[in-house]
């Protein structure tokens, strides 16, 4: 079976390296910018806010968000956090919807290759910093890694309580009855808790936090993760953090417990049944295939199979539309 070009990585198309770390020399380094674009004072300011965020897990720390050379909503918060923490020896991976090859991911990766001259990679295991939108890699993270999340809306209560001052009070008093009202309404309307992404969590038994628009499939990975997890919201000017090995509980009702999504299909490329699957329309007749959203994980699984490793339990399949 051929793989649609859109699902292949740029490295595979090039026929060069299969996603391994690029030396910084692949891209011209821009001179005239400070290391990692931001000036040192700004980075210091962000680091101070990050320290506070790590000290109070889940608490939203205000910071002086800067204009970045990309629009709000494209990851200005994440990019500022990455710029503040990145060093010359770091290896950066950027994913968007689990993929390393989307416009946003490619551009941000190139941005840091050019302004900081750091190594970039598509392999989760090689990265020391992973900037992400929408996903947490399938491969378990280690204590040597830092996750940086791009957050569009850091306030989980904003749809229920429009006043920012009131939201801050509710956080200060841990008065979180409101968020249960949202879950209650979900069950009323859909029969189950229908929130599937940006599923609210309680961090360290105290602060209510938005996990950024990751699918709820990834929520269990937030809990007791060995990696440091940093969240940046550029437009809303807030930072927050989940330090390593911190308890993160997804909210639910006693009689409607939290559950993650499941699929009836295996990944059409690697056959994995354990990963988060994207549904892809492959032709005008509406044929669909299910593939891993984490492109690096999918590639690893396939190279494993090629090398004679354990063959996936289910054959790859394209599901015809009805």
């Amino acid at each position: 079976m051929t793989i649609p070009a859109s699902l292949r990585s740029e490295a595979e198309i090039d026929g060069t390296v299969d996603g391994a770390a690029h030396a910084a020399t692949d891209v011209d380094i821009d001179i005239g910018y400070n290391f990692a674009y931001l000036d040192e004072q700004t980075k210091r300011m962000i680091r101070r806010s990050l320290l506070k965020a790590v000290a109070i897990p889940g608490y939203q720390v205000p910071f002086g968000s800067r204009e970045m050379p990309l629009p709000y909503g494209w990851g200005t918060g994440g990019i500022q956090v990455t710029a503040a923490i990145i060093g010359r020896d770091d290896t950066l991976k950027v994913i968007d919807q689990g993929s390393d090859e989307t416009t946003n991911a490619v551009n941000i990766r190139r941005f840091f290759a050019r302004t900081a001259g750091v190594k970039t990679t598509q392999r989760t295991a090689e990265a020391s910093i992973i900037q992400t939108r929408h996903r947490i890699p399938e491969q378990p993270l280690t204590a040597q890694q830092i996750m940086v999340y791009q957050v569009p809306m850091p306030e989980p209560l904003y749809k229920l309580e429009p006043r920012v001052s009131e939201c801050r009070k509710l956080h200060a008093l841990a008065d979180y009855g409101l968020i249960s009202v949202k879950l209650y309404e979900d069950i009323v309307q859909h029969g189950s808790i229908a929130t599937t992404y940006d599923y609210p969590v309680i961090v360290n038994h105290r602060y209510l936090a938005s996990p950024s628009p990751i699918p709820k499939f990834d929520n269990p990975k937030l809990n007791m993760n060995p990696a440091l997890q940093l969240f940046g919201a550029g437009r809303e000017r807030r930072l927050y953090a989940i330090p390593p090995y911190t308890s993160v509980r997804s909210l639910d009702f006693d009689d409607h417990p939290f559950e993650v999504e499941r699929w009836q299909h295996a990944c059409a490329l690697c056959g994995s049944r354990a990963s988060f699957l994207d549904e892809v329309i492959v032709d005008d007749a509406g044929s669909r295939m299910y593939v891993c959203s984490d492109s690096d994980f999918c590639r690893e699984q396939r190279s494993h199979a090629d090398a004679g490793g354990p063959v996936p339990a289910e054959p790859a399949s394209v599901i015809a539309s009805v």
């Binding site: 009855g177 309404e185 009323v188 309307q189 009702f253």
Partner: protein, 257 residues
């Protein structure tokens, strides 16, 4: 001798130079319904909002006997304690049900919200309780999943009352709960309020400009004029034998049916 629930002494609220309410003192006992009557602008609502700690008082003392039987100085209460009190022991029924209800969520969620705010985490039980309360305020339980906007004005008011009473408060403030309802709906609501306050041994402080409402609901009555209480006493006593000229005017202004 019964201990009062709320003790108010010389309570004053100013808006700059203007007086909101001046030197108000009274006791409210458990299970007692106290009505505040007066014309508009007389400071009734100011008094209510000051008592419910929505406005900061300028002078006087305000004490409340909590469920643990200790006296709380309400004017010096910290915000967390105040909010806890509001959601566990007090209720506030707004004049306009739209102010007291959450328009974007269903009737069941509106009644269930105070329960969830005090820690209920079982969907089925929250829903059962909400349905029971809908029944108690004479709403059709089949409409539990409808938005408040789908209910009529009188039904919305009953929904708001259910939402306020679901946590079993000891003290409820009501700001003109029957204003804007037509007379037959008003009568049913008054009937309901009378039943509920006596069943639940609820203390209530009701602001109204309607003498008829006061006569039907209140055990005691306070008459306000220009921010001051001009007369107070048992309802029948005040209405049948008014002493103060303003009260006499008020009682004589009621249209005979």
């Amino acid at each position: 001798m019964l201990n009062p629930l709320l003790e108010v002494r010389h309570l004053t609220k100013r808006y700059g130079e203007r007086i909101g309410c001046r030197d108000v003192s009274f006791d409210l006992y458990p299970g007692e319904v106290l009505c505040v009557v007066g014309e508009s602008g007389s400071g009734k609502s100011t008094l209510l909002n000051t008592l419910a700690l929505r406005h900061a008082a300028d002078a006087g003392t305000l004490r409340y006997r909590s469920v643990q039987d200790d006296w709380l100085d309400l004017l010096a209460l910290s915000e967390p304690r105040r909010r806890l009190l509001m959601r566990s022991e007090w209720g506030f029924v707004e004049q306009n049900p739209r102010d007291g209800l959450r328009a974007g969520v269903s009737a069941g969620a509106n009644i269930g919200e105070p329960l969830m705010a005090v820690g209920a985490r079982h969907y089925g039980r929250i829903r059962d309780t909400a349905a029971q309360w809908m029944e108690r305020v004479e709403l059709d339980t089949a409409r539990i999943d409808e938005l408040p906007s789908a209910f009529s004005g009188g039904m919305q008011q009953r929904l708001q009352i259910a939402r306020n009473l679901v946590t079993g408060p000891r003290l409820v403030f009501m700001d003109e709960p029957t204003a804007g309802l037509d007379v037959s709906v008003q009568a049913r609501l008054l009937d309901l309020l009378r039943t509920l306050t006596s069943q639940l041994n609820l203390s209530a402080l009701i602001v109204t400009h309607d003498i008829g409402v006061a006569r039907l609901l209140a055990h005691r009555l306070m008459v306000m004029q220009h921010g001051s209480v001009v007369e107070a006493g048992l309802t029948d006593q005040v209405l049948d034998d008014p002493q103060h000229p303003y009260t006499q005017l008020l009682v004589s202004s009621v249209l005979p049916v």
